[in-house]
Amino acid sequence: MSLAEPAALPVATSAAPRPQVLKRLTSSFKASLPAYLLLLPSLVFLALFTYGAMGRVLIDALYQRTTPKAPVRFVGLDNISAVLADPAFTGAVVNNLIYAVATTIPSIALALLFALALSRTHAVSSALRAALFLPVLIPMVAASALFLFIFLPNVGLLDYYIGRLLPVLPNWLGDPDIALTAIMIITVWKNAGYYMLFFLAGLQAVPEDVMEAAHLDGAGPYRRLRHIILPELKPTFLFVTVIAMLNAVTQVDHVFVMTQGGPSNSTNLVLFYIYQQAVEHYDIGKASAATLLTLAVLMGLTALSFRTLANREGGA
């Protein structure tokens, strides 16, 4: 059926209908023109910096220049295989996976705790919400400047107060085994308050009379959480998880300020690797190949988030 149709079309539209189709197209274009003009400013910038950028990443990933002034030369998939073979890149990918999982889980757990404890509005809970939200507002660079001192060996805040309890003082940012954890602590501190807001909004959907009925039926706080609150919050969980994962890929300012990816690449994350390739090594080909790989993963992740969003809007 569907195969036969294209063959039949040229016969049907041979002579007379063509001007009609053209006319219909022009008239629908004319009717749509005001809308196109209104969309034009946005579409120009989107074309330059989003779709165009995508295209340029694709093309740049296929070319290579040996020095900044040398002519570009087509290398096919060499850049991609070079990136995949680069231990710094695979290391950054592994770090980023660990970083994503180990920041997402505690941030969300804390956010849920904060939201449950502060869901009732009174002066005290508003003040506490504001306190937990403050880190969300400040630039990551400013947070990093503060945490540089907090993690400073011997005289820093952490060692001054907690370090006395430990037999050996850890070198928080200087020890390859600990540095990534230190970076993760900042992320959790900075983002938990943001995710708390979504849980607070989600909690408002939990009906109070159901909670009370459950209590009268003998359900304690734990069982109410497990069987009423958590199922109700499921869409919020999915949504916040996606945002936290996106943040884990796109937030690297603290890596730049605090460790520069070191010591020995133990805190290098993928976006910082891309930055290093482009700015420090002038290797646009490799930087583009790494961008391309990251985008592919991220687009899968965001496709997932749109399904979550659609579910949420559908009331599920």
Partner: protein
């Protein structure tokens, strides 16, 4: 215990005797205090005289003879007034252009029928997927080709169109009753006049929500301006602070770093404390920027 009773006053009667929610609340209070410690240290260290030496630097109890020396040093070493001005120009420039682009596009999606609407809608959605910060490499080469390397305009340009803002405005415009527009139509108002005099004034809450999200996120941008800006006098606050921190770290001038950080975040903190409710509700709508 009295205090707890007052805090849980409006909880359902049956649950007031439970212990677990109170433990959770107590834990949250404790963590909120921990959350504030970096800010507390920043304030105390800013006012601590350099003569207290490095070993007292971590002390959270304020010094008995506070001084403004650190603030003066930070002000002189870092070019903070210039950085602040640059950041304000960037945020204001982005916001102004965004207001125009998102109003026009939001209106088209909310009220007009046109060929290819679904396709164009998905083209906008794509921007939400391709987080701009990931496209720094191709966008840097484009900005350079446009001759905008090392300019504030170059920093602003990738953010001039905003899918998030467009969708926010579409939602706001759809909620406005069409009767209002019909009345203006009878009076002979053109398309742009109707947008300007009916849709925009009635959508101010959405504009302010968008403004809060846009300004805070671009106030905090770092990696992109770091790549585009080369001259020291064009640095925004975040880039300025990172350079300043690097310099001061070398001389272990932690009091000065605390003072510099305070100067960078003070405008945001003050605005937040004034418009707390607005900020919080705006951030809830900002799931994906």
């Amino acid at each position: 215990m009295k205090l707890f009773d007052r805090l849980f006053r409006d909880a359902p009667l049956a649950t007031r005797g439970e212990i677990t929610p109170k433990l959770g609340f107590a834990l949250t209070v404790l963590l909120a205090i921990v959350w504030l410690i970096p800010f507390l240290w920043m304030g105390v260290a800013t006012l601590r005289p350099p003569s207290d030496g490095i070993n007292l630097m971590a002390e959270l109890l304020p010094s008995l003879n506070p001084t403004l020396d650190n603030i003066r040093d930070a002000w002189e070493i870092g070019d903070f007034p210039r950085y602040t001005l640059n950041t304000m120009i960037i945020c204001a420039g982005i916001l102004l252009v965004q207001f125009v682009t998102i109003t026009l596009a939001g209106f088209a999606f909310a009220r007009l029928n046109f060929a290819g609407k679904t396709l164009i809608f998905y083209l906008f959605l794509m921007q939400l997927m391709l987080v701009p910060v990931l496209l720094i490499v191709p966008n840097l080469s484009l900005v350079a080709q446009l001759g905008l390397y090392d300019t504030l305009t170059g920093v602003m340009m990738p953010f001039f169109a905003s899918a998030f803002g467009t969708f926010l405005m579409r939602q706001a415009f759809e909620a406005i009753p069409t009767e209002l527009e019909d009345a203006a139509l009878i009076d002979g108002a053109g398309l742009l006049q109707r947008i300007r005099h009916i849709y925009v004034p009635l959508s101010m809450p959405s504009f302010s929500a968008f403004a809060i999200i846009s300004v805070t996120s671009h106030w905090n941008d770092f990696l992109w301006p770091l790549m585009v800006i080369n001259s020291p006098d064009k640095r925004p606050l975040t880039v300025g602070l990172s350079v300043f921190t690097k310099t001061a770290e070398g001389t272990q001038a932690w009091g000065t770093i605390a003072a510099g950080t305070l100067m960078v975040i003070a405008p945001l903190l003050v605005t937040f404390l004034i418009f707390q409710k607005r900020f919080i509700s705006s951030f809830v709508t900002s799931g994906i920027k």
